[in-house]
Amino acid sequence: MSFKETISRNYKQVIYAFLFIVVALPLIFPLGLPVPIDQTTRDVYDRIEALESGDVVVMGCNIGAAIYAECYPQFVSIVEHLLRQEGVKILFVDHGTEGPIFTQKALKDTDAYLRKTYGVDFVHLGYIAGGEAAISGICRDIHALLKVDYTGLTLMDLPMMVDIENAGDFTLVLDFTASADSQFWLNQAYATYGTEIAFGLTAVKVPDAYAYYTAGQIFGIIESLKGAAQYEVLIGKPGMAVKGMDAQSMAHLYYIGLILLCNVMYFTGGRKK
């Protein structure tokens, strides 16, 4: 069997192997391509910059292992940005069973416990089961739905929670997800209480949200790793997302190359297959 035959028989394996190489090389040797900022990301940044002391931000987290690579860098950057804002209160809510793991990780990665006081500046409510019903419960009356926080402390004992009752008290809701709970916030908090909402999403979810963005129902979107990289640049703390963007560029070029190659073969090779 000649080399050419081997390749044409195992073309998939060759494609896969090259994809590995194309992604791994820029991660080891970064290219340092520039990161242009999208308006959707800037909108989120500007809104958080404009927060005033006493405002309450709800961070909805449905990050699981599968979307970790896309959404976690966004989540960490925003937590970091929120922690820098003086007097802003942060409420963490998890919509996925794996959510608490990543919320706690983010709080640890940003040294939140050292920089701010738990219970005064931020509270982690933990995972709340029940999909849209749960979000509806949070929006209507937190204290009726929950008595204790993630660690088992009584909510009423936490100074920050005394003034927060329903979605009318939330200034912003930022939801990080790849599933329908972003829409639940839209139905429950935006539609009923007019709370401002933004999403941090995986690339696949963005299109749908984009329609809400142009319709003015949400004020910003952080798109996938790209948005995370932009946010890292905006807050001046480049991290894993910025490095990943070089790999993104190379991979995209590779895909375009594959499409072109496929068509060249198709039009020159007698249009078989």
């Binding site: 998939k12 999909g131 849209e132 790849a178 599933s179 329908a180 696949v204 299109p207 749908d208």
Partner: protein
């Protein structure tokens, strides 16, 4: 708005059940594709497989999708039982399992071949987790050498893994979903894809009750109504009147 739409649908259902107006529905290309895929599988003597999606019965976004997929499953199971194609149904959400079992079991009964339905084997539960489901489904397609693969209902990110593996096995794939994120993948890697509403229309078209076709026309009227509102509303807004926007917000 909700009320207008609902009234349109119910009126069309009523009219067609009374046979006062029977709309002419164009031949659904997706339905033809389903029939062809089953015929091809019978000729090749290889099994066909079906997935009604990974969304549960009470999923707040894809419940309708799951219901449409189950209706289509009713048709596919009946066809398979009649033509003698071996059918394998892969299930992810446990809530769908009893329904799918019931549908397939009774389809075999109606076709007069109850002995060909094997409990726990014709309808297989894989895993409620999308990836557990996807690996099992892909493994099943490889080992059973399926000739046709039907993916309907709310599929999530596992769609691409299943569809590409189906193409590798050489199965003819007919798919449909209302999950707009997965539709492009289906469209690129499968033979025929029912985009969004096509799936509901196919479900109504394939429903055993001929009256159901009347509702397809109800859907058409609702869309034509939307088109009229769009045109009228845009013209009015150009003139500076936003009555329609306010009417919609009600």
């Amino acid at each position: 708005m909700t009320f207008i739409f609902s009234a349109l649908m119910l009126a069309m259902l009523y009219l067609s059940s009374k046979k006062t107006y029977i709309p002419q529905i164009r031949e659904h290309p997706g339905v033809l594709a389903i029939q062809e895929a089953i015929r091809r599988a019978v000729e090749m003597g290889r099994p066909i497989c079906f997935s009604p999606g990974t969304s549960s019965l009470y999923s707040t976004k894809y419940a309708g999708d799951t219901a449409a997929a189950l209706t289509i499953l009713g048709y596919v199971a009946l066809e398979a039982a009649r033509t003698g194609a071996k059918l394998i149904v892969g299930i992810a959400p446990p809530t769908v399992l009893p329904v799918a079992e019931d549908i397939v079991r009774s389809a075999y009964l109606v076709a007069g071949k109850p002995e060909e339905y094997i409990e726990e084997d014709t309808v297989r539960f894989f895993s409620p987790n999308q990836w557990g489901f996807a690996t099992s489904y892909v493994g099943m397609m490889h080992r059973e050498k399926v000739a046709a693969n039907f993916l309907f209902g709310g599929h999530a990110a596992e769609a691409m893994v299943i569809a590409e593996s189906g193409a590798t096995v050489g199965a003819m794939q007919v798919t449909g979903s209302t999950n707009v994120y997965q539709l492009p993948f289906f469209l690129v890697s499968c033979d025929y894809t029912l985009i969004g509403e096509d799936e509901f229309a196919a479900a109504a078209y394939l429903s055993p009750d001929p009256v159901q076709k009347g509702v397809i026309f109800g859907q058409d009227l609702a869309k034509i109504f939307c088109v009229l509102i769009l045109i009228l509303g845009s013209i009015l807004r150009t003139l500076g009147i936003d009555t329609i926007s306010r009417f919609l917000s009600m």
